[in-house]
């Protein structure tokens, strides 16, 4: 094993640890939001510091590898993929911090019918499964699994698209739900963005493994 191989192995371990930490934050945000658990919300906000610190550490490691080892070909693509995924994961961490903030601010349970109709539970489940699968895909360089993750983003987009109509119908019936509806809608928006960031991670993983750029191409091209 060359020194570069050792550095790349450590980098891979670090980005997987980052994915685990962020996935855990989304799992906790799910629980905290649905049960309005402020203690858990504070824990999420506290853990955000760990994510920020790990993000900086991974950025620094990438910078060192680029400067000291001049990686090329798949090694270079791997470092670039880690660098980009790191930024995406950090943003997902930010969304969980914001969702935790809603829990702390609102601190009251949200109307169950509204929760059910909005499909936010399905959104959390999908976002969490996307994160878990992209971690496995990254660990095993599994492009097939990565493409499955990519397709799941459409589910999040669909729920997000329908959410405004569903929530406004509830508000027409009962105006007292306005505040919780706004927190709910904001959380749905954040989960839709989580999907976009995981989709970015799929694109960079495929770039790393297959040397193919999927960004800004239509779906037909991507299926190829």
């Amino acid at each position: 094993m060359t020194n570069l191989d050792i550095e790349l192995k450590l980098l891979k371990e670090a980005i997987i640890e980052m994915t685990d930490l962020v996935t855990n934050q989304v799992v906790n945000a799910n629980e905290a939001f649905l049960s309005m658990d402020t203690d858990l919300a504070y824990e999420i906000q506290h853990n955000e510091q760990k994510i920020n610190a790990l993000e900086l550490s991974i950025d620094r490691d990438c910078e060192h590898i680029l400067a000291l080892f001049n990686p090329v070909a798949s090694d270079l693509r791997f470092v670039l993929a880690v660098l980009k995924s790191n930024a995406d994961l950090e943003r997902i961490g930010d969304y969980t911090y914001a969702i935790a903030g809603y829990v702390i601010e609102h601190n009251k349970s949200i109307n169950k019918e509204l929760i059910e109709a909005s499909q936010i539970i399905a959104m959390f489940d999908t976002a969490i499964s996307m994160l878990r699968d992209i971690k496995i895909a990254f660990e095993t360089e599994d492009v097939k699994l990565a493409k499955k993750v990519y397709r799941k983003d459409a589910d999040l987009n669909m729920i997000n698209k329908q959410a405004a109509d569903i929530i406004s119908k509830f508000l027409e019936k009962d105006g007292t739900l306005t505040t919780e509806a706004l927190y709910l809608f904001s959380t749905i928006r954040k989960l839709e963005r989580v999907g976009d960031h995981v989709k970015n991670m799929v694109e960079v993983l495929i770039f790393y493994v297959k040397a193919k750029v999927l960004k800004h191409k239509d779906i037909k091209d991507k299926k190829k």
Binding site: T2, L4, D5, V72, A73, S74, D75
Partner: protein, 261 residues
């Protein structure tokens, strides 16, 4: 010349190798290599020691002819003419195909005499013409400013980097169209290396350059196309950016990423 003929000529590769095999006695140094090199490009040959890249480079100005046991099969064409035909004058060929070596090798003469040497050998005796060609070559090799007031100074008093630029000037003075470089910066410090690399980039607009290098980053920085040689074979040959970002062959990837060689 009609535009049609001109266009046809422009499309022809400057150098073309067809099914080339090279033997030194029983040892086969080059195995069935074919490649085209276009005009006004920089082409880098990379590969571990003994892979055949220098042997292949030296075919282009028939430098291997003197090596004992050398035998070649196939064709090497320059401007569509097979340079291994019997009627080819090797001296004429080498006017067209200049060479710069790993270690700067100036003659123990003045700076001026070093550059003028090739011209005098060619029979040019008009001092005015020689002066002009020496000045132009030294300017092209980015040595004029440093050397113009010391043209009679011994070339051996120059630094290593200056000596290598002098050798490039000496090559340019006879107005070749191809310059072969065999690890031209491996004996130089980073500053001198950068100057030579900048020079190669500038010379590309007027010359076709083929360079053998062990420095992968150098190949990446200066060349348009790169060929990876291994055990006498041309494993992969393509656009340098593609070769360094997305090599198709595992051997290429392992070599450029430092995993062997």
């Amino acid at each position: 010349m009609t535009d049609h003929v001109k266009d046809k000529e422009l499309k022809l590769p400057k150098i073309s190798a067809e099914d080339v095999n090279v033997f030194y006695g029983d040892f086969q140094a080059i195995k069935n290599i074919s490649m085209d090199i276009n005009s006004n490009t920089v082409t880098a040959f990379i590969g571990p020691s003994g892979c055949g890249k220098s042997t292949f480079l030296r075919l282009f100005n028939r430098m291997n002819d003197y090596v004992e046991g050398f035998r070649m099969e196939g064709k090497i064409k320059i401007d569509d003419n097979n340079i291994y035909k019997k009627k080819v004058h090797v001296e004429e060929l080498r006017k067209k195909v200049g060479m710069v070596f790993q270690k700067p090798n100036p003659f123990p003469k003045s700076i001026y005499e070093n550059v003028a040497y090739g011209l005098k050998i060619q029979g040019i005796s008009n001092k005015k013409i020689i002066d002009e060609r020496v000045e132009t070559a030294l300017k092209q090799a980015d040595l004029w400013k440093e050397a113009k007031d010391n043209l009679n100074k011994s070339a051996l008093a120059l630094s290593g980097g200056q000596q290598q630029r002098l050798c490039i000037a000496r090559t340019l003075a006879v107005e070749p169209s191809i310059i072969l470089m065999d690890e031209p910066t491996s004996a130089l410090d980073p500053i001198s290396t950068t100057r030579i690399e900048e020079l190669i980039f500038e010379l590309k607009s007027n010359y076709t350059i083929v360079i053998v290098t062990h420095n992968m980053q150098q190949a990446g920085r200066i060349s348009d196309n790169t060929g990876f040689f291994y055990l006498g074979e041309l494993i992969e040959y393509k656009n340098t950016k593609d070769l360094f970002t997305n090599p198709k062959n595992t051997k290429t990837e392992n070599y450029i990423s430092g995993r062997f060689g």
